[in-house]
C-alpha cells in the first residue's frame, strides 16, 4: 500500500469545497488570459491542473489564450495576439505568439502578501517581451490590493531607472534580442532596462461578481493612435462567474475602448460527472451461496455462464483455463476507460459463475492479441473487501501481478468484427494566418481481427464543414514537403481514405511485443511499419525500436502515391516517472530524412487526461527549418468518459503546434505498441486501482 492511493483526507480536495479561503486566494483571469486584474498581472494563481481557454476582444487587438496550471504555483499560457494597425497608407496586420510563465514564489499568509514573478515571451520573437514582479494581499473578505513592477513592454508609462541596476550594471539597458527564426529560448534582456510600477484593486461585490480598477504600465506606443487611442492609464472592469466552467470579463480600457473576455475552464481532476455515472457492477457473490448451486469444475456450462456474464457488462471472454483451484481468464475490454475497472468487474462475474472450489482468479487483459499483466485476486479477498473503507489500497496490496502471454483464444473470439460511425473535429490552433481553424465531419471506421493478433482496419472521413482548406499559404519549405502541404491534403481530400492497414501483433516472450503494419498508414504516407517493444509488466521503463519504409500519398488521399519515399525509424525510451509524469525520448530518422531526437514530457491524470509538451531537434539547421526553428508543440488527450460520465474507451486527442514544418516530422501509425500495452501493465494499472471496485 502506498500513500499515493490513500489520501487520508484532512483536506477533502476531491469535493471542491466552495466558500473556503482557498477559493478566495485564486487569481482571476485578466485580459491577457493570465492571472491578474484587467490588463495587468496579479500575484495569486489558479488551482493546480486547471486548463483554460480565453478569447478576448479589444478593438484591433484581439487575443486568444490557452493556459495550464501544471502544478501549484506555476501557471503557463500560450498567447496569440492579433494586432491590426490602422496606418495611414495601408492596413497592417500582425499575429504574435508568446508564452507567459507565471510563478508564485510566496503564498499569502497572515500579513504577508502573495508574491509572484512572470516572464512573457522567453521563447520567440514577440513584441510582448516583458517581465514583472507582483504582490497581492487580501484585506478582509472582499478587497484585494495588487502592486507590481514591470520591465520591457510592461514599462510603458512612468518609467524609472531599473532598481536592479544597483546590483549590476548589465540591468541598466535592455538588450535587443537576435531572435532569428524564433522559437529558441532567449535570456537577453530579461529584467533589463527601465522599469515601471503598476497596481490595482479587486472588490468582490458578490460571490459571482468582482469589480476591478488598475493603473496600467503596459506600453502601447505602437498601437496608440493606430489600433486604439490610449487616453488614460486607468482601466476599469468586472469579472463575472457564469458557472463552474466559464467566466466573463468586461472592461473600459485606456479611456477609449470596451473590451470583453470569455474564459472556459476545466480541471482534469474534477470530472463533471464526479466518479462516474455507470450502472452498478454485479455484486460479489460469496462461495457459501455458490456452493448451494451444485456447480462443479467439469461442468461444461461454466464457460458459457462466464461468457454471458461478461457480455452483460460489455466485456468479452477470450480464454478460460481452470487448473486446480485457480481459474485463469483472458478478457477483452472494449468498454471501460480504466483497465482496473474491467478487471474488477470480471472478478465479480467470476465470483458469480465459477464453482466454489475455485479460490483464485487470474485475470489478464488482452489487447490486439497481446497480454498485459496477469492479475491474481484471491476469492476470499474479493469477498472480504467488497465494501471495505480501504478496499482500493488494500486490494492493490493483496493482488498479484505477473508477466504472461495470452492463452489460445476460444473459437468464438475470432473473427471479431467491429465498426463505428462517429463525428470528428480536427482543430488547428495557432496557424500563423488564423489562430482557430477547424474541420468537422463524419468518420466511418471498420475492423476485423481474423485471428489472434491479426487486425485489418480502415477509416474513411467525409468533411462536412470547416476552413482548414482555406489556408492558401504555399509551402516555402526547402525540405521535402512531408507535412507542409497539409493544406493541399485538406483541400483535395474532402472525402479521404484516412487509413487502411493490415497488422499483425505478436508477443514472443512475456516482456517482448512486436508489430508489423502495412498499408495506408496515415493520410500523408503509406508503406510498411515494424516495431519491437521491451516492456516488463511491472517496469516503469520501456524500450522500443521502430523501422518504417513509406511513400508519400497523393493529395486526394485515395489509393495513389507520389514519388517521395523514405526510410524512417526511431529507437525510443519511455519512462513512467511517477506522480503523474511520463517522459519519452525518440531518436532516429524523420520523414524528411533528417536525423535527430524528440523529447516529450506528459502530465497524465489517472482518469485518462493527459497534457504534454514535446520538442524535436534534428540536423536541419534552424534557418532551413523555417519559422519556429524546430518542431515543438503540445499534445492533449481528453477521455470521453470524463466528459460524459458513462464508460467508454474513446478519447479526444489533438496536437497543437505553433507552426507545422517539415523538419522533425514523425510518421503516424495507429496502435503503436507502448500505448497499446502500457495501460494493461503495472504501474499504470495500480495508479487507478480504486476503480477495480467501481
Amino acid at each position: 500500500m502506498t500513500l499515493k492511493h490513500t489520501l487520508l483526507a484532512t483536506s477533502v480536495a476531491m469535493f471542491a469545497v466552495t466558500g473556503s479561503t482557498q477559493a478566495e486566494q485564486q487569481a482571476r483571469y485578466n485580459m491577457y488570459g493570465g492571472p491578474g486584474l484587467i490588463d495587468m498581472p496579479s500575484a495569486h494563481d489558479r488551482p493546480a491542473a486547471e486548463l483554460a481557454f480565453s478569447g478576448v476582444y479589444l478593438n484591433n487587438h484581439n487575443r486568444t489564450v490557452v493556459s495550464f496550471q501544471p502544478f501549484e504555483r506555476l501557471f503557463v499560457g500560450v498567447r496569440y495576439v492579433m494586432r491590426e494597425f490602422d496606418l495611414r497608407e495601408d492596413r497592417g496586420l500582425n499575429y504574435d505568439r508568446s508564452l507567459l510563465v507565471h510563478y508564485n514564489v510566496l503564498e499569502e499568509s497572515g500579513w504577508r502578501p502573495a508574491l509572484s514573478f512572470g516572464m512573457i515571451d522567453l521563447i520567440g520573437n514577440s513584441y510582448f517581451s516583458s517581465e514583472y514582479v507582483v504582490a497581492s494581499k487580501q484585506i478582509g473578505e472582499r478587497l484585494e490590493l495588487t502592486a507590481g513592477i514591470g520591465w520591457g513592454r510592461l514599462a510603458g508609462a512612468g518609467t524609472f531607472r531599473n532598481p536592479l541596476a544597483l546590483l549590476h550594471d548589465s540591468f541598466e539597458n535592455r538588450d535587443v534580442r537576435d531572435t532569428g527564426k524564433g522559437g529558441v529560448p532567449e535570456t537577453g534582456g530579461v529584467f533589463q532596462g527601465d522599469a515601471a510600477l503598476f497596481g490595482g484593486v479587486a472588490w468582490k461585490a458578490t460571490d459571482r461578481l468582482t469589480l476591478l480598477a488598475e493603473h496600467s504600465s503596459h506600453d502601447y506606443k505602437l498601437e496608440d493612435g493606430n489600433s486604439f487611442d490610449k487616453n488614460s492609464l486607468l482601466n476599469y472592469g468586472l469579472d463575472y462567474r457564469l458557472n463552474e466552467n466559464a467566466d466573463l470579463g468586461l472592461a473600459w480600457m485606456y479611456g477609449s475602448e470596451l473590451s470583453a473576455r470569455l474564459t472556459f475552464k476545466a480541471n482534469p481532476r474534477f470530472p463533471p460527472a464526479g466518479a462516474g455515472r455507470e450502472p452498478a457492477p454485479p455484486p460479489v457473490v460469496p462461495r457459501t451461496s455458490i456452493a448451494q448451486l451444485g456447480w462443479n469444475v467439469t461442468d461444461g456450462a461454466t464457460q458459457d455462464r462466464l461468457a454471458s456474464g461478461l457480455k452483460a457488462i460489455d466485456l468479452e471472454l477470450r480464454a478460460l483455463d481452470i487448473t486446480g483451484e485457480t481459474a485463469r481468464v483472458d478478457i477483452i475490454n472494449p468498454t471501460y476507460g480504466r483497465t482496473s475497472q474491467a478487471i474488477g468487474r470480471t472478478a465479480r462475474v467470476l465470483s458469480a459463475t465459477l464453482p466454489a472450489e475455485i479460490t483464485r482468479f487470474t485475470i489478464t487483459p488482452i489487447e490486439k492479441g497481446v497480454a498485459g499483466s496477469a492479475v491474481t485476486v484471491a476469492r476470499a479477498d474479493l469477498e472480504a473487501l467488497e465494501y471495505d473503507p480501504m478496499a482500493g489500497p488494500e486490494s492493490l496490496a493483496r493482488s498479484g501481478f505477473a508477466p504472461t502471454q495470452p492463452l489460445p483464444p476460444i473459437p468464438a473470439a475470432h473473427p471479431d468484427f467491429d465498426w463505428g460511425i462517429a463525428p470528428y473535429i480536427a482543430p488547428s490552433l495557432f496557424d500563423p494566418d488564423d489562430p482557430l481553424r477547424a474541420d468537422a465531419g463524419v468518420a466511418l471506421s471498420a475492423s476485423v481481427s481474423p485471428w489472434s493478433g491479426g487486425l485489418i482496419s480502415g477509416r474513411v472521413r467525409q468533411k462536412l464543414i470547416g476552413n482548414l482548406d482555406e489556408s492558401e499559404r504555399p509551402s516555402t519549405s526547402v525540405l521535402p514537403h512531408v507535412r507542409s502541404d497539409a493544406n493541399i491534403y485538406q483541400r483535395e481530400g474532402t472525402t479521404a481514405l484516412s487509413t487502411l492497414t493490415a497488422a499483425q501483433y505478436v508477443q514472443p516472450a512475456p516482456e517482448f511485443y512486436g508489430r508489423v503494419t502495412a498499408g495506408y498508414l496515415e493520410p500523408m504516407f503509406g508503406g510498411v511499419s515494424t516495431e519491437l517493444l521491451w516492456k516488463p509488466q511491472d517496469s516503469r521503463l520501456a524500450l522500443g525500436a521502430e523501422a518504417n519504409y513509406v511513400v508519400q500519398r497523393d493529395y486526394d488521399q485515395a489509393f495513389g502515391f507520389q514519388d517521395y519515399e523514405v526510410a524512417t525509424g526511431h529507437v525510443s525510451a519511455y519512462y513512467d516517472i511517477g506522480g503523474g509524469y511520463r517522459g519519452q525520448i525518440d531518436m532516429g530518422r524523420y520523414l524528411a530524412g533528417d536525423w535527430g531526437a524528440t523529447f516529450t514530457l506528459d502530465r497524465e491524470f489517472e482518469n485518462g487526461w493527459s497534457l504534454g509538451a514535446f520538442a524535436t531537434l534534428t540536423d536541419v539547421p534552424f534557418d532551413d527549418f523555417g519559422e519556429g526553428s524546430f518542431d515543438k508543440g503540445l499534445r492533449l488527450t481528453i477521455p470521453i468518459d470524463w466528459v460524459r460520465g458513462e464508460p467508454t474507451r474513446d478519447d479526444f486527442s489533438t496536437v497543437i503546434r505553433p507552426v507545422t514544418r517539415d523538419g522533425g516530422a514523425r510518421l503516424k501509425v495507429e496502435g503503436r505498441l507502448y500505448e497499446t500495452v502500457r495501460e494493461l501493465h503495472q504501474p499504470e494499472l495500480g495508479d487507478s486501482w480504486g476503480r477495480f471496485w467501481k
Binding site: 499515493k4 492511493h5 490513500t6 489520501l7 487520508l8 483526507a9 477533502v12 480536495a13 476531491m14 469535493f15 482534469p268 481532476r269 470530472p271 460527472a273 464526479g274 466518479a275 462516474g276 455515472r277 455507470e278 450502472p279 452498478a280 457492477p281 454485479p282 455484486p283 460479489v284 457473490v285 460469496p286 457459501t288 451461496s289 455458490i290 448451494q292 448451486l293 455462464r305 454471458s308 456474464g309 452483460a312 480504466r338 482496473s340 458469480a352 469477498e383 473487501l385 467488497e386 465494501y387 471495505d388 473503507p389 480501504m390 478496499a391 482500493g392 489500497p393 491524470f605 489517472e606 482518469n607 460520465g645 495508479d687 487507478s688 486501482w689 480504486g690 476503480r691 471496485w693 467501481k694
Partner: protein, 200 residues
C-alpha cells in the same frame, strides 16, 4: 435467497415484481397500501435521496455474512451491514466502502463512542478515506408507521465529525435488531439516504 444468485437474469427477475420501481420523483408511499405489500413475496426496501428528490424501491440481491446488498429496478445497488450503509454503486460519487461495526454495536445498545471510516473514489481515481469520530447523541423508544404498519422501535441517533464535516445519522431498530427505518449519510456529493423497510 437462491433466486438472487441468478444475476444474469437480474433484470428479468426484478421486472417480475410490479412494485419494484426505478427512481421516481413521486413518493410511492402516498399510493401504496399495506394489502399490496402483503402480496409481495420478497423483502422490499424504500430508499429516498431527499437532496435529489428521488424515490426508489429495492429488492435483496445477495447476502454475504452480515451484509445484504439491495438493488433497484434500474440497477443501483445499496449495501447494508446489519442495517448500516456500507456501500452504494450506480449513484455517481458512490460510497465505495464503510465501517459498520461501531454503529451496529450502538444500534444494539452497546458502543457510544467509536471511529468510523468512509471510502470514496476521487475524480482522478484515487482512493479517499474519510475518518470520523462518532458518538451516540440520543436513544429513545419510538413507534413508527410504515404504510399502515405500526412498528415499535428504538431510535438511535449518531453524530460523527471529522474532515470539517458533521454528519448525523438515525436508525430505528426493532427489538430483534432489524433496522426498519434510517437516515444515513452517503457522502459529500450524494448527501443523505433515507430508508424504510416496506416488507420485512
Amino acid at each position: 435467497m437462491k433466486t438472487t444468485l441468478i444475476l444474469l437474469a437480474a433484470t428479468a427477475m426484478l421486472s417480475g415484481c410490479g412494485l419494484l420501481q426505478g427512481p421516481t420523483a413521486a413518493d410511492p408511499r402516498e399510493t401504496l397500501r399495506r394489502a399490496d405489500l402483503d402480496a409481495v413475496g420478497n423483502p422490499l426496501l424504500l430508499a429516498v435521496l431527499p437532496g435529489k428528490g428521488v424515490f426508489a424501491s429495492l429488492m435483496p440481491l445477495v447476502r454475504k455474512g452480515d451484509t445484504l446488498t439491495w438493488v433497484t429496478a434500474d440497477g443501483v445497488t445499496l449495501a447494508f451491514e446489519n442495517g448500516v450503509l456500507t456501500g452504494s454503486r450506480g449513484l455517481g460519487d458512490d460510497l465505495m466502502g464503510g465501517d459498520a461495526g461501531g454503529t451496529a454495536s450502538a444500534i444494539a445498545g452497546g458502543a457510544t463512542r467509536y471511529a468510523r471510516r468512509y471510502g470514496y473514489l476521487s475524480g482522478d481515481n484515487q482512493w479517499i478515506a474519510l475518518q470520523f469520530r462518532c458518538e451516540v447523541t440520543a436513544r429513545q423508544d419510538e413507534t413508527i408507521v410504515i404504510v399502515e404498519h405500526r412498528q415499535a422501535t428504538r431510535r438511535t441517533d449518531e453524530r460523527c465529525s471529522g474532515n470539517d464535516l458533521v454528519v448525523e445519522n438515525s436508525y430505528w431498530a426493532g427489538s430483534d435488531g432489524l433496522v426498519w427505518k434510517s437516515r444515513q449519510w452517503v457522502g459529500p456529493e450524494v448527501g443523505y439516504l433515507e430508508t424504510e423497510r416496506l416488507v420485512r
